[in-house]
Structures are given as structure tokens and as C-alpha cells.
């Protein structure tokens, strides 16, 4: 049963179409992440779901109720904002109670709910403070609490962690995940531009670009089987290596590029193979070196250009034929710039895209 459904949603400001004929179904209890770079329409979509923006066409259903023209408060949603959006003149308790008072919830019920939310979020000692007396992490907890006390089916997060420093972000990320598990049956829709957040938190990720969803799938699929060139390039850090070449399909399909011919026997084609120009995407961590590389169906020698130690692993920059090529080795490597090294990869783990349509082949 879908918790949130979006049908043929259009939104335009004047002549600019921000969302184009968008469809999306979100299961009850699912954690869905809307991922994209700024301006892709992900926050706009979230605001439409929240009812903070009026749609130009289409419908929105929440818990099977058509809420397209409902007020935000009547949609059964809670929302957490990037800037926390705490009411500065109210105490933490006041912030938590504000929505409930507006909904005319009885006083003792309010107290109970606040107490419960405060326990869950570990903010009991802060209840009497003003937002200005809280740290960033505490503020965001309160903001989450404000959504929590509303006792709703759908949580909306609008880049909630972007204003926090890296360490806090990691901490709160885990807590959010824990919270989601605790609140079973609560749907969460989470907007972010940070792929780590998306990959770690999501049940499913919707990658957006220019107002439409490029791919909607679980993190594993998104990462390993990107549906098009954009998704492949967007997900993954360091980003995927892209090699220009062409597919030849005489007997068995092969990929010809400036550094040689790669046999595509092990590659799972998504569609019948056609010869033509294509792009091969290889994730840096799917590249093996030395003896391991020799065993793979494709290997070649490259000269190391730059070595970037990153602690747990090391990133090596080289060129493969005409293309820049990165690969990842262990943190303890002793490779140095100028050395020649044998690398190899298995096309089964790679992705092939049509040069024209940029779609996965």
C-alpha cells in the first residue's frame, strides 16, 4: 500500500517548468531519498508534498487521501528544515507544543507527547532553553522533535543535516536511521544533495535532474547499475571512470577504445546489443592491480600520475589511452608517481552507456 503517491505532477513558475509530469509511489514505512544537485527540483517536490507550494497540475495522495489542495497541516506530515526553522522567541518546549496547540490537542496529551519525543531525541534537559542557546546539533534534534510530536505518518526532511559539521552529520545520520527503525510504519522522504547520506539512509533513492526522476531504485542498484550516464557520474566518490569507445558486435560484443579492446562477454546487457559509439563506466574500486589484474579479462599497463593517500585507501590517478583514469588501492600501498603498474577490471562490474542517448546498454 502506497503511503505517498504522486501522479502526473507538474509545477511551473511562469514559463519555467520546475517539475515535469512526475510520478512517484512511496511505500508505507519506506525511507525515500530525493537526491540531486541544487536546482534539480527535489526541494520543490518536497514542498509540493508538504503543501507549501501549489501544484500546476497532477495529484498528490497521502495515506490514500487526495491532498492535492489540502492545507499543510491537514496532510498528516511533519517537516524538518535545513535551517532548523525553530521559532526563536519560544523555548524548546514551546516549539514542540506549537503545532499541537494549533491542532487543539489537550494539554496533558501535549505534555505526554513532548516527553516521549524528548526521550527519544535525548533533549529532556533542553526543554526550557531558547533556540539561540542551543548548538547546531541540538537545534536539529529539536526540529526533528517538532515533527515527531505531531504523530504523523509521513516525515519530510529538507536537507536537515547540511548545516552541520561533518562529525555531527555522521552522528545524526545514524540517529536518523535508528529513529526510522524505531518508528516503524513511518514514511520518510528525505531531500539531500549528499550521496553518502542518500546511500546510507535510503531504502530507495530517487535521483532527480531538471525536474524529473532519472532513476528510482535501492542504493545498491543505483550504485552498481546506474540507469544512465548522469546517474553513473552523479553517484560515487571518487566518481566513475568514463572511457569513450565503440561497441562492435560481429560475433561476440567487444568494446574498442584507445587503449585496446575489451571483451564484453561477461557484461549483462540491458537491451539487445547494437554496434555503435558508447561509453564504458568503471568504478575506481572495481579496478585490480598487479597479480589480481592479470587474472581479469582486461588488463593493461599504466603510468602513475598522482597518488592521493586518503587514510583507509589510496586513490591513484593515471591515464588510460586518451581518458583520465582513477583507481583505488589499499591504504598501505607504496606506489609512487612515475611508476608503471598493471591494472585490470571485469566488464561484468562495469556499466555501458549509449553515446547518444546516454542510457544504459
Amino acid at each position: 500500500m502506497a503511503s505517498v503517491s504522486i501522479r502526473n505532477l507538474d509545477l511551473s513558475f511562469g514559463s519555467v517548468n520546475v517539475l515535469k509530469n512526475l510520478d512517484l509511489d512511496i511505500e508505507k514505512g519506506e525511507f525515500l531519498v530525493l537526491l540531486g544537485s541544487s536546482g534539480c527540483g527535489k526541494s520543490t517536490l518536497l514542498n509540493c508534498i508538504a503543501g507549501l507550494l501549489d501544484v500546476s497540475a497532477g495529484q498528490i495522495f497521502i495515506s490514500d487521501k487526495n491532498v492535492t489542495w489540502e492545507e499543510p497541516k491537514d496532510r498528516g506530515i511533519g517537516m524538518v528544515f535545513q535551517s532548523y526553522a525553530l521559532y526563536p522567541q519560544m523555548s524548546v518546549e514551546g516549539n514542540l507544543a506549537f503545532g499541537l496547540k494549533n491542532a487543539k490537542v489537550p494539554k496533558d496529551e501535549i505534555a505526554t507527547r513532548i516527553k516521549r519525543a524528548a526521550e527519544v531525541l535525548h533533549i529532556e534537559p533542553l526543554l526550557q532553553r531558547k533556540p539561540s542557546q542551543l548548538s547546531g546539533g541540538q537545534r536539529q534534534r529539536v526540529a526533528i522533535g517538532r515533527a515527531l510530536v505531531r504523530d504523523v505518518d509521513v516525515f519530510l526532511f529538507d536537507e536537515p543535516l547540511s548545516n552541520l559539521d561533518a562529525k555531527l552529520r555522521a552522528e545524526l545520520r545514524v540517529e536518523l536511521k535508528r529513529l526510522h527503525r524505531q518508528l516503524e510504519n513511518t514514511t520518510m522522504i528525505y531531500v539531500t544533495h549528499d550521496q553518502i547520506e542518500a546511500l546510507t539512509l535510503a531504502d530507495r533513492i530517487a535521483i532527480m535532474k531538471e525536474g524529473s526522476i532519472q532513476q528510482l531504485a535501492d542504493p545498491h542498484t543505483i550504485y552498481n547499475k546506474p540507469t544512465n550516464l548522469f546517474v553513473a557520474g552523479f553517484i560515487g566518490s571518487p566518481s566513475i571512470n568514463l572511457i569513450d569507445g565503440s561497441i562492435e558486435n560481429d560475433k561476440a560484443p567487444v568494446f574498442n577504445c584507445s587503449s585496446g579492446t575489451i571483451n564484453l562477454k561477461s557484461y549483462e546487457f540491458a537491451a539487445p546489443v547494437n554496434a555503435g559509439k558508447a561509453v564504458l563506466g568503471v568504478r575506481p574500486e572495481h579496478v585490480a592491480t598487479g597479480a589480481a589484474a592479470r587474472a581479469l579479462s582486461f588488463n593493461t599497463e599504466v603510468v602513475i600520475d598522482v597518488v592521493e593517500p586518503m587514510g583507509s585507501d589510496t586513490l591513484i590517478w593515471t591515464t588510460l589511452g586518451a581518458d583520465e583514469f582513477r583507481f583505488r588501492v589499499g591504504g598501505q600501498t607504496n606506489l609512487a608517481p612515475g611508476e608503471t603498474v598493471l591494472i585490470g577490471f571485469d566488464p561484468a562490474a562495469a556499466s555501458l552507456f549509449d553515446h547518444e542517448t546516454e542510457l544504459r546498454l
Binding site: F13, G14, L53, D54, Q59, F61, D64, N66, T68, W69
Partner: protein, 297 residues
């Protein structure tokens, strides 16, 4: 999933619309209505009371052949341009000076701002007095031994408008300074650091970096200064009464005098229509640029 009737657009934001009723009424009834009323009656020969007896463009012909109206326009142009330039320049310089982390900032700011608390009537009166050659600056300087010193701006037709300008700037620049100061305080400190590291001289930083960043402040300021200029009336009445002769007449005074002193409403309305027209010529393109193209949510 049932289909649902789209709520009427009229009732959307109903509370906002209800709350805006005073604004809508003011805008439509007073400002638009009053303007059209004024324009309508400018084509009549109304004297003491408004009467719909149309005389075509007679009032306008007379208006544009009246030496006093032409002098008024000329004065308003001189005063307006100079007042705009000096208000902005002085206001900005004062703000820049006060923004140098100086001591006694509060004191200086209060000194520059207090004239704004006084009405134009009072301003006009005081400056009339200071500029009066028989007791004011001229007399004081002469009593120091400079017998031939002449400083009588209010009694010299050629420069009287500058005498009014002195008083007008005295009264108004404080507010402009505050606006500018507020704008400067809103500029990111890092800009200054960057400019300093890059070795850009301070005046260049102000001119090419800071001022362009203060565009919104300048717009608010411009509206305030410009609306004050168009409405210039009390100051002239209190300081010179339009004199010597008609040398310091301004359009608002022409309009007022013809409406009430000369009891020729039609002529007064013709004058005010011209004023409103010139304001509209400035405002409408601005509004178009500001609101016409983009739309923010």
C-alpha cells in the same frame, strides 16, 4: 482516490486577502481613485468647488505658459538632482566614516540623525534665520571684520534654491546615513578581508565592490529621497515662501496655491496631474523591472 473539486481561487489565501483590504482600499480608492479624480477635474474649469464643466486642455495650456510653473519645474529639477546626489553621497560618506569602528559612534550618529525628528516647518524657520543676512552668518562674519562678505542665499534669486537645499540636506541626510550604515553593516566582513589581502585601496573597494552589493538599500533610499523631493513644499513655505519673487517656487506649492489661494482647482489639478504623470513615468518601468519578469516563491 476520488476526484475533488478545486477550491475557488478567490478563497485561496482568504485571510491574506481579508487582511489586505485596507491596503487594497487605500491603493484603489485613495491613490488610484484620487488620481483619476484629479485627472478628470484637471480638464474642467473648477474654481473653488469641483465642477464638471469641461474646458479641454485649457488648464494645461495655461499651466505651460505660466512663468511660475516653469520656474517651479526648473527649481524642482535643480533641487531634485542635487538633493539626490548630495543625499546619497553625504549619507554614504557619513555612514562610511561611522563604519570605521570609531569611538563615540552613538553620539555622532545621534547628532547626524536628530534633525530628522524636526518638521520641515521648524527646519525652514531655523535656516531662514541662520541664512538671514541681517542676523545670521553674514552678519557674524562681517562683525569679524570682513565687511564685504556676502552670504544671503535666501535673498538672491539666483541661488535661493541652494539655500533651501542646505536646509533640506541638513534635515534629511541623517536618515540616509542610517540606511547606508545599515547596508554597510550587512556586508560580509570577508569582503573587506579579501579586498585587503588583494591590496585594493579602500575607496575602490567601496566604489566597485561594496556599493554594488548594497543595491536593495539604494532602492529603498531612492524611494524615500525621491518621494521627499516630489513632495517638497513645507520647507519652501517656511523658509522663503517661494521668494524672492518666484525664484524658489516648487510644483507642489504651485498646486497648493492654485487650489486654495487662487481658488482655481482646475489649474491646481492640472499641475498635480503633471506631477503624478512624471512620477508614473519613473515608477512604472521600475515596477516592471522589479516585478514583471521574475517570480519568487
Amino acid at each position: 482516490m476520488s476526484a475533488q473539486a478545486r477550491p475557488s481561487q478567490l478563497f485561496k489565501n482568504l485571510n491574506a486577502k481579508i487582511a489586505s483590504i485596507p491596503m487594497i482600499l487605500t491603493a484603489l480608492v485613495v491613490f488610484v481613485g484620487g488620481t483619476f479624480w484629479t485627472i478628470l477635474y484637471s480638464f474642467t474649469d473648477s474654481k473653488l468647488l469641483p465642477r464638471l464643466r469641461f474646458v479641454g486642455l485649457d488648464q494645461y495650456e495655461r499651466l505651460w505658459s505660466a512663468p511660475r510653473w516653469l520656474t517651479s519645474i526648473e527649481n524642482l529639477l535643480i533641487y531634485g538632482i542635487l538633493s539626490l546626489i548630495f543625499s546619497l553621497v553625504i549619507g554614504f560618506l557619513l555612514a562610511a566614516l561611522l563604519d570605521q569602528k570609531i569611538r563615540f559612534e552613538d553620539t555622532f550618529r545621534t547628532i547626524f540623525l536628530y534633525p530628522f525628528a524636526l518638521s520641515f516647518i521648524v527646519t525652514g524657520l531655523v535656516w531662514q534665520w541662520i541664512l538671514n543676512p541681517d542676523f545670521g552668518v553674514q552678519k557674524v562674519v562681517r562683525s569679524l571684520g570682513f565687511d564685504s562678505f556676502v552670504f544671503d542665499p535666501l535673498y538672491n534669486s539666483d541661488i535661493v534654491i541652494y539655500g533651501i537645499l542646505i536646509a533640506g540636506l541638513w534635515q534629511g541626510t541623517g536618515l540616509i546615513m542610517c540606511l547606508m550604515l545599515a547596508g554597510l553593516r550587512g556586508i560580509d566582513e570577508d569582503i573587506w578581508k579579501a579586498a585587503r589581502v588583494d591590496g585594493i585601496p579602500m575607496w575602490k573597494t567601496y566604489l566597485f565592490i561594496v556599493i554594488p552589493m548594497m543595491r536593495p538599500v539604494f532602492i529603498t533610499t531612492l524611494v524615500i529621497i525621491a518621494s521627499g523631493i516630489v513632495k517638497l513644499y513645507d520647507l519652501v513655505v517656511a523658509q522663503t515662501g517661494g521668494g524672492p519673487g518666484i525664484a524658489s517656487e516648487v510644483p507642489a506649492k504651485y498646486v497648493y496655491d492654485f487650489m486654495f489661494r487662487a481658488q482655481n482647482l482646475g489649474q491646481g489639478f492640472a499641475g498635480s496631474t503633471m506631477m503624478l504623470l512624471s512620477v508614473a513615468i519613473v515608477i512604472i518601468p521600475w515596477a516592471y523591472l522589479e516585478f514583471g519578469g521574475k517570480k519568487r516563491v
